[in-house]
Amino acid sequence: MTETTNRRELLTVAMPKGRIFDEAVALLRKANYPLPPEFDESRKLIIESPEAGMRFILAKPMDVPTYVEHGVADVGVAGKDVLIEEKRDVYEVLDLKISECYMAVAALPTYNPKADIAPKIATKYPNLASSYFREQGEQVEIIKLNGSIELAPIIGLADRIVDIVSTGRTLKENGLVEVETMMPITSRFIVNPVSYRTKSVQIDDMVERISAIIEGGEEV
């Protein structure tokens, strides 16, 4: 077998950096994937693990579905929030039940919906937020921010924000209150539609091993 075909048979896994990363790595280790120890500290963006038959790419969480949709990664771990926002053509195969949190609408305690003439919503998730409010029959203006969303109502950029909440600490520390709970969020195991067929042996095995670990053991 030549070097190149060997390379191609590695399964490329897109992992989200940040919040979800540690839990996702722990899950894979529990499923008996021998991940290199350098994994946790490294600043490398691509880490190969030939023992595990995998190559990991470390991406921004919001970009994981993009890599998987285009097929440069075969599988990936992505939050449901990102999947709703990005609407990529990928298989959502497993609920990993890690990084549990929820989407919520938050505002200052003084916020009065009736006084809201042209409601402005600040969020990192413009598509998700706008379809949510459309379903509620509420007309709002969405302002897209890339982080520190809690700032927006405090300094008057928007009246409300839409963001993920895990403990509620960030909201509390910034003097915001939750006004609506939107939907629960967990991380999902996603698969490229072509890889799902052409690399089905490796991927089916991975799905089986991971789902055996997930609490309650969802059948596949």
Partner: protein
Amino acid sequence: MTKLFMFEKPVGMRDTLPELYQLKKQVRDAISEEVARWGYAPIETPTLEFSETIGAASAILDQQLFKLLDQEGNTLVLRPDMTAPIARIAASTLSTAERPLRLTYDAPVFRSQQREGGKSAEFEQIGVELIGDHSNSADGEIIALMMASLEKSGLENYQIAVGHLGFVNAFLLEVLGNESRVATFRRYLYEKNYVGFRKAVDQLALSSIDQRRLKNLLGLKGGTEVLEKANDIVESSEGKAALSQLYQLIDVLEAYNLSDKIIIDLNLVMHMSYYTGTVFEAYSEGLGYPLGSGGRYDELLAKFDHPEPATGFGLRLDRLTEALGKTKETIINDVCIIFSNERRKEAMEKATEFRQENRTVVMQDVTGVNNVDAYSAQFSEVIYLVGSNGNGGGAR
């Protein structure tokens, strides 16, 4: 909107430069020749069609259509696929032609892209339609012809997933009991959202046996053993009938010696309402998108008031060339004759001679090119016919 730069193009529109053109042409010619050998007659249809007819009948979502108005105010679309226009012809002009009809096309189709680049909004599609034949042999022929086309194009590592919409619909209906629930669950399959599918199953007031049956549907992917498993969970006669069709289809493909590249995937739902029976998609290793797809669409002709069974496939030339790899080499130009006025006649005779030998000759006046050395370096053979006889150059 900011002022456009001169070089800009609408999102998803691509230029085809000579190297890629050559590769595309090779692929196109190879497939057209193969399809013609199977007795499919080529046809062309207009680029513009009415939105109300073709736009509505096509498998493409409304927001993906390029629309414009004609002078009477009718909404027109740039054709988003070729199947609907061919159905229109089959139902009208060719309605009295002897059945089955075997037609083929090779044409650009248009699908607007709102998102980023990397996806074409205009691409060439090569395909066939077999109209008026409901048999398994027809489905088998279409899949076999798609595979033969892929082989002729030079592609080696590919796979075909085969499913059956009739099975999915019958199975969901027998477990769920009503059409609206079937539509919900079919949508989960269409969106490839297995997590949502399982969660929705858990929320239904069904017996645990039925819940398990539904979840088992998601695992029906693999070799022919999948059909056995499917047979165990389906009870309705419609579902069993769909499975026996698939069994026969596999037999047909085995007779073609093609079954090793086939996987069965009973969750394959490529469109919400278009296909009715067998469906299939072609994949190449290393390319993230399907190369093409097809299936049986027995309801489409009815939309043109001419109900009859039909099946077909479409291959995307852009993705196929991408899967075949980057353009193999830069074009090696054959012969260049660099001439001056005095020896034009001689140069012309030489060129004619070469062209008769099937060689490619560029005739270039020496005064018309700035850097003769750089220009002539692009050719494998350069002949200088410059200056009065005997003085300037000669063959290099």
